[in-house]
C-alpha cells in the first residue's frame, strides 16, 4: 500500500512539477518585511519543490504523509540509517530556505 502511495506521490510530482504552477500562491505577493504564515508556507512549498527527487520523496513521505521511518525504509527499500541521513539533508536544505523566518518565528508559529 505504501509502495502505491509512493508511486502516486511520484506521479503527482511529475504532473505538478512546480508548486507555483498549481496556482495556490501564484497571485499572492508579499513585501520583503512581511512575515506571514502564508508566506512561510509558500517559502516552505518552494523549498520542498527545490529538493531533488531523492530527498523530496522521503521528506514528503515523512512530514506530509506521516509515514514512520520504518515504513519509508520499506517503501524506498533503503536502510533506516539512509532514510535518516536523507531526511537530515532535506531538512537542511529546507531550513536554509526558511532561514529568514528564524527570528520571526513568533509571527509565523511558536517554535518553543
Amino acid at each position: 500500500m505504501f509502495t502505491i502511495a509512493s508511486n502516486m506521490a511520484k506521479t503527482e510530482l511529475k504532473r505538478k512539477s512546480r508548486f507555483s504552477d498549481t496556482g495556490d500562491f501564484e497571485a499572492v505577493t508579499w513585501s520583503p518585511d512581511e512575515y506571514t504564515k502564508e508566506r512561510f508556507h509558500y517559502q516552505l512549498s518552494k523549498a520542498i519543490d527545490n529538493l531533488d527527487e531523492l530527498h523530496r520523496s522521503v521528506f514528503v513521505l515523512r512530514y506530509l504523509n506521516q509515514l514512520s521511518l520504518k515504513e519509508i525504509s520499506e517503501v524506498k527499500e533503503i536502510p533506516i540509517g539512509t532514510v535518516k541521513s536523507r531526511l537530515f539533508k532535506a531538512t537542511k536544505e529546507v531550513g536554509h530556505e526558511l532561514y529568514e523566518f528564524r527570528s520571526k518565528e513568533t509571527n509565523v508559529f511558536k517554535l518553543y
Binding site: M1, I4, S85, T91, L111
Partner: protein
Amino acid sequence: MSSGQKRPTYLNYIKMKEEIEIKLFDLLESKDYHELDSQEHQFVEMHSSKEEYESQRMAILGMKDYQESSVPHPLVIDRKSLLLPLIWTSISSAAAAIVLLLWLLPESKRSIQIKWVTPEVRTVDTLVVERVVRDTIVQFQEVKSKIASRDLSPKAIESIPQFEQDAFIADALKIQKLDLENKGVSATNDAVIQRFTPAPFIGM
C-alpha cells in the same frame, strides 16, 4: 599515525558523516535547541550551528503547521482516499480473473448443471443375513479334497489337466469377486448364496 589506528579512507569518512547526520537528525526530530543537554549542545555546535539547527527544526515543525493549515499540499496522499481505489482495483481484478477463467474453460465445463434429485423412497430388505460361508468352505473343501485324493506329488499335480486347475482358480476368484460385489444385497438376490446348494435348515 600509529600502527593500530585505522587509516581514514573516503568510505570511512562517508560512513562517519552519515553517522553524524543520523545523530543530528534524531536530535532534530525530538528536541528543540534549548532542550538539548550540554553534551548534545556541544555535538550540535561541533557539527552544525545553533542557527542551522533551529532552521532545520523550524522546517520540521513548519511542516506540521503546514499540514494542519487549510491549504492542501498537492503531494499529500490521504491514506483513506487510497483505500477506495484499492478496493475497487481488487474487485475489478477478481472480476477480470473470473471472466478470463470462464473464457479459458472449455464450453462443456462453463455451465454448472444442477440436478434436482427427488428424494426416493426405497424399500429394502431389512433382513440382515449373516453370510454363510460354510457352503463355500464345503465346496472348496470338496474341490480341494478331490485334488487331494489324487497323488499330490509334483508329477501328479502336473497330471491334473491344466483346464481343471484353471477352472478351480477361476472359480475361486469368481466367488471371491461375487462375494465382494454382493455385499449388502438381499439374500434372495445374492449370487454367491445362489451359487451353492442351500445349507440344511437347522430348526431353532
